[in-house]
Amino acid sequence: MQTRTLGREGLTVSPLGLGCMGMSWAYGTPDENEAVATIHRAIELGVTFLDTAEVYGPYENEKLVGRAIKGKRDKVVIATKFGFKIDPTQRPAITGTDSRPENVKAVADASLKRLGIEHIDLFYQHRVDRNVPIEETVGAMADLVKAGKVRFLGLSEAGANTIRRAHKVHPLSALQSEYSLGERYASSASAWCRIRRLAAGSSPGRRSAPRSIRRTTTGARNRGCRARTSTPTCDWSRR
């Protein structure tokens, strides 16, 4: 498979990634052997961009990915995410958001340990934290880049304003958001649209979005199209 470049900082990934969440969370009973075999097969097929998060499991998914990539570190690009307040004894385990700088750094260290790697290739804020200015969060993320613990930064489900502010603190390489032919939530796609316009360097006030991006209808996700969790990581910083 060829590669795709996200952002302007040099993040290069396989055109398709592998979402690992369901291997230990949501969607039924986990099957570790099949999950690890799936990751190994993905690497063989050139699907080397692996997506996980602290909160998946919680924690278990990163450990699983860590076990699967043992001895194969140089073949994969690992993306993980911080940003939730987690209480594993609760159902659901997510009890809020937490993007305070001290938590950003603590999660990075813990994720590195669970994944058994020396650096995280792409570190995302999982959800915007309304209690912490994005500049503070991205400042902490930038410190992690300086420390060599993280290579590239991203946000997930962030709006255009947040992205603009974050990008001023440190260049971002990726935005993750739900988007597909069958995505049922139109406004996330419109945010995506704005973001891509920012990226393209054209006027943010321009009204017409690229036609294809405005499509956000129903169905495919729940009606037999297996690409139900197609989550694009899109680069808005390209000019």
């Binding site: 990634g17 979402g19 988007y179 597909s180 956000t216 297996r226 139900r228 899109c234």
Partner: protein
């Protein structure tokens, strides 16, 4: 369901699955778009991976686009509490 029918029609023509067409459509949205389909089984992974070699024509993309009109959806993807965490 117009969208489902449109996806199926393109899928049949390409001898692909609807899921592969949905992924190929995403890949066609730009070189800066990287779909991350989730799966925990080799079977689905292999199916998804084949989407990278499907090229949709301009006509295919228009056909799919027409079947999926803007804002034509209803219902959030998460429950209210998780939905409230999405920044817009």
């Amino acid at each position: 369901m117009r969208l489902v029918e449109a996806v199926k029609a393109v899928a049949d023509e390409k001898k692909a699955t609807p899921g592969q067409i949905a992924l190929a459509w995403l890949l066609a949205q730009g070189p800066d778009v990287v779909p991350i389909p989730g799966t925990k089984r080799r079977r689905y992974l292999e199916e998804n991976a084949k989407a990278a070699s499907i090229t949709l024509s301009k006509q295919d993309l228009e056909h799919l686009g027409r079947a999926a009109p803007a804002g034509g959806t209803a219902g959030p993807r998460y429950h209210e509490r998780m939905m409230s965490l999405i920044d817009r």
